[in-house]
Symmetry: C2
Subunit: 406 residues, 2 copies
Amino acid sequence: MRVLLVGAGGVGTAVTRIAARRPFFEHMVVADYDLSRAQAAVAAAGRTPERFSAAFADASDEAAIATLLREQRCDVLLNATDPRFVMPLFGAALAAGAHYLDMAMSLSAPHPGTPYAECGVKLGDAQFERATAWEEAGRLALVGMGVEPGLSDVFARYAADELFDTIEEIGVRDGADLTVEGYDFAPSFSIWTTIEECLNPPVVYESDRGWFTTEPFSEPEVFDFPEGIGPVECVNVEHEEVLLIPRWVTAGRVTFKYGLGEEFINTLRVLRQLGLDRTEPVTVRSDAGPVRVSPRDLVAACLPDPATLGERMHGKTCAGTWVRGTKDGRDREVYLYHVVDNQWSMREYGCQAVVWQTAVNPVAALELLATGVWRGAGVLGPEAFDARPFLDLLTEYGTPWGLREQ
Amino acid sequence: MRVLLVGAGGVGTAVTRIAARRPFFEHMVVADYDLSRAQAAVAAAGRTPERFSAAFADASDEAAIATLLREQRCDVLLNATDPRFVMPLFGAALAAGAHYLDMAMSLSAPHPGTPYAECGVKLGDAQFERATAWEEAGRLALVGMGVEPGLSDVFARYAADELFDTIEEIGVRDGADLTVEGYDFAPSFSIWTTIEECLNPPVVYESDRGWFTTEPFSEPEVFDFPEGIGPVECVNVEHEEVLLIPRWVTAGRVTFKYGLGEEFINTLRVLRQLGLDRTEPVTVRSDAGPVRVSPRDLVAACLPDPATLGERMHGKTCAGTWVRGTKDGRDREVYLYHVVDNQWSMREYGCQAVVWQTAVNPVAALELLATGVWRGAGVLGPEAFDARPFLDLLTEYGTPWGLREQ
């Protein structure tokens, strides 16, 4: 297998470090808009440097990416860029006859009239619209294959296959106790993306209503996370799992709640109230005279780059899927989860926990595709595949998952 | 009397509208860095247009301002700019042999070692250092002569002269119930200045300790404001009264508390936590490439200009001075206050309440100087003068003050 990895940021760099330890692929081309970042990610891989090479790529240029895939004879494109580049990369892979994996799906647009009640364009809609073309080409677009979405979807499939007869509710729950030394406020993931997903109308699925939206931060609940993280306030957030899981798994209700904590929710509310979440530019004075600046870009410029914070971070991050239903005629409730301790990921891979946890899942998925354990054609989510081999492979990677009966 | 008014923003424009109705001065030159703003303020005056003229002035250019004062044969400079321009305007007036009035004093600088316990450079220090030169020139610099500082200081002097034998505590308390239609968050006063005064270490005076500072937002209390405004949470804020009152009035303790309300305090805390209150520029991308922008300027650019909000504002604003002490051997506690209803100030003057309330006080003070009721030389606060004629004049201006025994 020859892989084109597009995007050499925090997650892309962690992908090269994890993949370098696995023999399943022949070569990985690491491409970025900033060639020096791609070269740094190749250097970071360390082991088997002959299996990696760096290239320039503009992720917004579909034709150029298709050419690169053909020139490099790549079987698969792994997209590790931000969601703005999903559609050109997805299109380039189809055009070049390559398979495709991403960790976030095409972007949503709110309903023009009732954004906090009805869905407009949903996450992934633009990708699923082209499913027939992928099926006809006999190629696979495996969408949402990070940790959340990704592992969380695998957990949902596993619960349906092996733990439950009927499922009333599936709730993805994400929480952490990470702190960053020397900073009162330092998000562990891109603030640009965090604002995008947290301030968009959250989406909920119910079997009798289909998909619908709510006000931001709706249905707050305190969820008790395992391995010492403890209780964290979680709220509804727009996320891919709610769109993916109901396509392959039968459940009465599907939600995604993020353990933002009261303080972070308050910060996001204030940013919205002041209009500082906006991406449309405003005019402001600068050293170069009056210029047009996006307020959200300015907020990001005031905060530290999350990928550089690993050495100052402490604590653990948990991704998981809570399921309630019945088994053998009795009520059952479980939480399937995956925890990464930042101290461990820094020591073992030199990557901070959130970034490493995102990156390990697409590498494991590539391995299952390379070995033929997972195979398919069309636009499919992680829950379209058999869960057990994936979960076993994670354990083999040294990062086991857990199950808590509750 | 010939007056040079520097600054034709919201307060400057209200000054021309109020002064136009009073015959005490011969001519007022309205000067601004933006000549069209100065011309608009002259046009806004309406009545007796022959008594007003517009001029260009750069408030940061001390020599040019002194020349303008001489050329225009002005007896007095009224400073209606922001506090960054206090020192050049104060210096220009002295150089040109004119009297000087302002509504905010020279800026403070935090103590380098213990900013939340000890004072560094205090508000007004740079002005009081030059008091001897003013005395020797026989000219008056009447500093802090807006509403707060200003009328609040007059109230303190009135309490000491007529209402109390001994004063235990003087607390200036400012609160409002103003709302702005169509905005979740729209400060009624310059956000730049509000951030400056609210996030600087608040200063407190105690007779046995002198001046000292505390953490921002310290000593929260709920103060019940009159005329239907009702209870508002107030916290310590750095303000001129605490530096002025103890110089002329004997009191055990002097504080200033601002009725910011919980929501506004929360907003300011978040701005500080994210570093968005900073004036030092950060690098951010813009339509002109990477530029250096002050985060505080960007926050201001995202919010509506307070001076333009009068038509959409509803409610009242209250400035006042609460005093506790003894009279004739018995405990006494009073609140002396001045309330402006936005509906009234818009109808009568076309000015929003907060801006109008600030502007009326220096006009009344100019009238007392023109008529010789107030006279003096040196750098003096409003409490250095007899309070009764000022309070009577406010009533004559149609904007009476109140006294509540508590």
